[in-house]
């Protein structure tokens, strides 16, 4: 028996190794082979309690110093190894090789278990690996860091992103706010704005429009005089369909840099979406001039030009021009109605009307309106332009619903009608 200091002689007496006092009085009779295996150490300590305590204290102090030296050296070696592994992990993370990055960060952490940077990077890699199972571990690392340094903005930002991954608006907002008001090691203002922008993007993605609006207002108030910051803010306003706010930000960018083609395009697009076609035309024209390759602005400009040319409610046009435009709109609507009915197999005269389509009724109203066109010149018919344009709007809307979105002049007419309707409401 070789694990308890004596051996059953019947089995293996030759490997016995224990150990008795010098009188051989210990142990079990018969079965136990007693052999002293202890190292003979001379008695070094005098038999006096105070002296013993002094000696023990000195020994403990020496032990502390020796182990301290050992631990320091070992820690230094480990930290150096950890740094290498951490650098490797960062490289992997940059290449989106998250599994390798996670392994490297884990190994770095075994070398330096308390290093918050390693923990943060591991948590980020775990989060970015798009494995929902790893979010828990990422959160655990981050929460441990957060408990140690709740004011650390980077940790809060990472936690906010984990919560954003989970779609938890409440948690994400809280951590993003913590990040905004937390301590940044560098560029605090820029980082705060970036954190708020990220929060706004998250809120818009989650369709939390009201919260996003309040964050946008706060963002606008704290923007530095930097065109790119205002430009980004303007895009967020636009994304949140706050066109007035977006236009104001684009205009601020243009005040700082009048030649900024992105701001010109953005301002034009925003003005277009808000129905301010004259302003849109001005900005879009400038945007196309500044950047001839901007095809989107060019298309919008063409559409804007069409709208402005076709709009009978445009200010500063003569009555004759207005009547001409109304007539053209009505004719265009009729063309659209006929083409749509043909493609949908609807007989506008009422013979074949599948599923009770409203198009034949609109055709009948169109015919009646056509009859009234000549009354446009009459000064007493003040409501007639509106009535005709209402019909145009209905035709464009119904044909859009039946045959798909309109193009060209039909689109322009639809937008004109919609703007007028919105203004009326």
């Amino acid at each position: 028996m070789d694990e308890v200091y004596y051996l059953n002689r019947k089995r293996r007496p030759e490997v016995s190794h224990f150990c008795a006092d010098r009188d051989g009085a210990w142990g079990h009779p018969n079965d136990i082979v007693i052999r002293d295996m202890s190292w003979k150490v001379p008695k070094l300590i005098p038999r006096s309690a105070p002296v013993i305590l002094v000696v023990l204290t000195l020994a403990a102090a020496t032990g502390f110093a020796a182990v301290s030296h050992l631990v320091t050296r070992y820690t230094a070696n480990q930290q150096a190894r950890g740094r290498k592994l951490y650098a490797l992990g960062l490289e992997y993370a940059r290449d989106a090789r998250y599994d390798d990055a996670i392994a490297a960060f884990r190994a770095a952490l075994t070398c330096d278990p308390t290093n918050s940077q390693y923990q943060l990077s591991l948590a980020r890699a775990l989060r970015d690996s798009n494995d929902p199972q790893r979010l828990d571990e990422a959160e655990s690392y981050l929460l441990a860091l957060w408990q140690r340094t709740p004011q650390d903005a980077a940790v809060n930002l990472a936690l906010a992103r984990v919560s954003a991954h989970r779609g938890s608006i409440e948690d994400a907002t809280r951590y993003y706010h913590n990040a905004m008001y937390g301590v940044w090691n560098s560029d605090p203002d820029g980082n705060r704005n970036r954190a708020r922008i990220e929060l706004i993007q998250f809120l818009l993605k989650e369709n939390a429009r009201a919260q996003a609006d309040s964050e946008l207002i706060a963002l606008a108030a704290a923007l530095p005089p930097d065109p790119s910051a205002h430009l980004q803010a303007a895009q967020l306003f636009e994304q949140g369909q706050d066109y007035a706010g977006a236009l104001a930000r684009y205009q601020e960018v243009l005040r700082l840099d009048p030649e900024d083609s992105a701001a010109l395009a953005g301002a034009g697009e925003t003005a277009y979406h808000s129905g301010n076609y004259t302003m849109a035309q001005r900005y879009l024209r400038s945007a196309v001039n500044a950047n001839p390759a901007d095809s989107q602005s060019r298309q919008l400009l063409a559409s804007t030009d069409l709208i402005l040319r076709a709009n009978p409610f445009q200010s500063h046009i003569s009555d004759a021009e207005r009547n001409r435009r109304i007539t053209a709109a009505l004719n265009q609507a009729e063309d659209r109605l006929t083409a749509c009915a043909q493609s949908a197999g609807i007989d506008l005269n009422g013979a074949a009307n599948p599923a009770g389509s409203p198009l034949p009724a609109l055709q009948a109203r169109w015919l009646a309106a056509k009859q009234n066109l000549k009354s446009l010149r009459s000064p007493g018919e003040t409501d007639l332009p509106d009535a005709i344009m209402d019909l145009v709007l209905q035709i464009e809307q119904q044909t859009a619903a039946t045959c798909g979105p309109p193009q060209g002049l039909d689109l322009a007419l639809l937008l004109i009608s919609q703007k007028r309707e919105a203004a009326g409401q």
Binding site: E3, S16, V51, A60, V67, S140
Partner: protein, 593 residues
């Protein structure tokens, strides 16, 4: 064997001698330190030295692991085969030729030191355990560093005690004191270490040693934390326990854990003696073969089974593995640890037990959630509870298992699930495996050491079990001798109890009364003629052993009420006591070895 003279207390110099010596301060201090005080101070130093040793041990394991297996774990690498095999070979040679006392975990060896060898553990054991366990665990053998730390601590304590020539009584206590220090340092959990040492090493509750064990454990933890920080072993995830109905899920985990514990214990209990029965030369290759097989498991895609496995437990706690992987890891770890342990490789079973429990807990929790999605316990909660479950079932240390989970998690919210699951695990394990693993190992080695589990089960005989009814005749010391003599004349009892005034009891025989009567003392009170001695009395709830001290001296001993010592509950006699002991069946020794 010569008894060493206590170094302090008993040999304090006289005042006259003190006045003569120039070292007056030291002489004064000599008088201050009696042996008890000195022993307590010594316990603190044992804690410090054990803590320092364990810090070095942990660094050694880490360094060995990095040097042999590298920092980045790479599956399908030749190292996974070669390192544990070659390291196993080296360890085998060292164990057989240089450090023959270091096989196994170290818990039983420490217990043997306490009960058989008067606290003697060779210092060579500490050195050997440090080197060989460091190599074995660092090279990937499926063993843990806790039990070796326990033995290193015990060995240091024993060596220090011998060096200081403390009394044999105190030297016996050194082993558990050092063991607690070593375990507390390794596990960074002083309460669990103290409880484990009481449950498994000392094997019985002893208030006398508790203070020393606690002192050394706390001192060692302070030392370790000062060097390695107070970071817990695991990053504990959010653990919740919301609905009492979920205790059923934890009970299931307890039952599964109990079965796994039995399987683990049986596999070790079955294969260990068979491997030891092989020719001696095979012992050189058994650790190497175990290392090779563990390397194969790692090579095939489960490197988590290598070493202590704390990182993998941490990952399991955070839901990094599917239930299938968790279940496979639990099974493979049982296999790997069995291989490592029975091959005689020095190393502990603490960490593997926790590993198996963690994986099993995670697997059971995940499976339960598949069938009952409303369960709110996270994977981390089940992993934590699972650790305690295996601890309770396999190591059969139920109290330690509960406190270990609480200490590791720092979360008292899960105490109820832990207690429920551990209880089920313990009961299942006890039902299917009569002898706890550590007792099984000692019995395989031909030893029978005391066990707390046996003590818990042992039926204690009490005074009330041997108590006879209140005698019909009770004399009064205030009555006259002739009146008392008339009362005992018709009594069947030859000896009667005498109620003393104002309290107390005495006895008098019929012959004594007759003699007094004949001597003409019939007109005297009994109190005036009886010898002025007070008969000892017993209480019904006292252990019957306490009656043994008196039964030879007194034919009749009163058993009185604790609230009123004048109120007689009954009497015990020599015959009634011995009859009770005689009717008791002899202590059964389980046949399973």
């Amino acid at each position: 064997m010569s008894h060493p003279t206590p170094i302090v207390g008993a040999s304090a110099p006289s005042p006259a001698a003190r006045a003569k010596t120039p070292r007056r301060l030291f002489s004064t201090l000599e008088g201050v330190f009696n042996e008890e005080v000195f022993f307590l101070i010594l316990c603190v130093f044992i804690g410090i030295f054990s803590g320092l040793a364990v810090v070095c041990f942990r660094l050694a394991i880490d360094w060995t692991h990095l040097a042999l297996l590298g920092a980045l774990p790479q599956t399908h690498s030749w190292r996974l085969f070669a390192v544990p095999s070659l390291a196993g070979l080296v360890v085998a040679v060292l164990v057989i030729h240089v450090f023959p006392g270091i096989r196994g975990s170290g818990v039983n060896q420490t217990k043997s030191a306490l009960y058989i060898f008067n606290g003697f553990i060779p210092f060579r054991t500490a050195v050997g355990k440090f080197i060989c366990s460091g190599i074995a665990i660092g090279s990937g053998q499926s063993l843990g560093p806790e039990d070796p730390s326990l033995q290193i601590g015990a060995s240091i304590a024993s060596a220090l005690g011998r060096q200081l020539e403390i009394s044999r009584e105190k030297l016996r206590l050194m082993a558990p004191v050092g063991a607690a220090a070593g375990l507390a340092a390794a596990f960074n959990a002083p309460i669990s270490a103290v409880l484990f040492v009481i449950e498994e090493v000392i094997g019985r509750w002893s208030a006398g040693i508790l203070g020393s064990v606690v002192l050394s454990a706390v001192a060692s933890v302070v030392v370790v934390r000062s060097f390695l920080g107070s970071e817990p072993l695991f990053r504990i995830p959010v653990t919740t326990f919301k609905r009492p109905s979920e205790l059923l899920a934890y009970a299931v985990l307890g039952i599964v854990g109990g079965l796994a514990s039995v399987a683990f214990a049986k596999s070790i209990g079955y294969s260990r003696p068979r491997l030891k029965a092989f020719p001696r030369w095979t012992q050189y290759f058994q650790p190497a073969l175990a290392g090779l097989l563990i390397g194969l498991i790692a090579f095939l895609g489960f490197p988590q089974v290598m070493g202590a496995g704390y990182d993998s437990m941490d990952q399991a706690m955070h839901g990094q593995y599917t239930w299938k992987v968790l279940a496979i890891l639990a099974v493979l770890k049982i296999l790997a640890t069995t291989l490592s342990f029975v091959s005689g490789t020095p190393g502990g079973m603490f960490a593997p037990t926790l590993f198996i429990g963690a994986m099993l807990g995670g697997a059971v929790g995940d499976i339960e959630r598949i069938f009952f999605p409303h369960l709110t316990g996270s994977t981390g909660t089940y992993v934590l509870v699972g650790m305690g479950v295996l601890f309770a079932g396999f190591l059969r240390a139920p109290m330690t298992s509960v406190f270990m989970v609480l200490e590791v998690s720092g979360n008292y919210e899960i105490i109820v699930p832990v207690i429920v699951a551990n209880t089920f695990s313990y009961v299942v394990s006890r039902g299917l495996q009569t002898i706890p693993i550590f007792d099984l190992l000692t019995r395989q080695d031909g030893l029978i050491l005391p066990s707390l589990e046996e003590e818990r089960e042992e039926t204690i005989l009490r005074v009330e079990d041997a108590m006879l009814p209140v005698p019909a005749v009770i004399l009064s010391a205030q009555d006259y001798v002739d009146a008392n003599f008339r009362r005992v004349q018709d009594s069947a009892d030859s000896t009667s109890l005498v109620r003393m005034s104002p309290s107390g009891w005495n006895i008098v025989s019929r012959e004594q009364l007759q003699r007094l009567f004949r001597e003409g003392k019939g007109e005297l009170t009994l109190a005036s003629v009886l010898p002025a001695r007070s008969l000892p009395s017993l209480y019904p709830d006292l252990p019957l052993d306490s009656a043994l001290r008196y039964v030879n001296d007194y034919p009749l001993i009163p058993v009185v009420n604790r609230a009123d010592s004048n109120r007689l509950e009954g009497v015990v006699t020599r015959e009634s006591v011995f009859e009770k002991y005689g009717s008791r069946p002899a202590i059964a020794v389980p046949s399973e070895t």
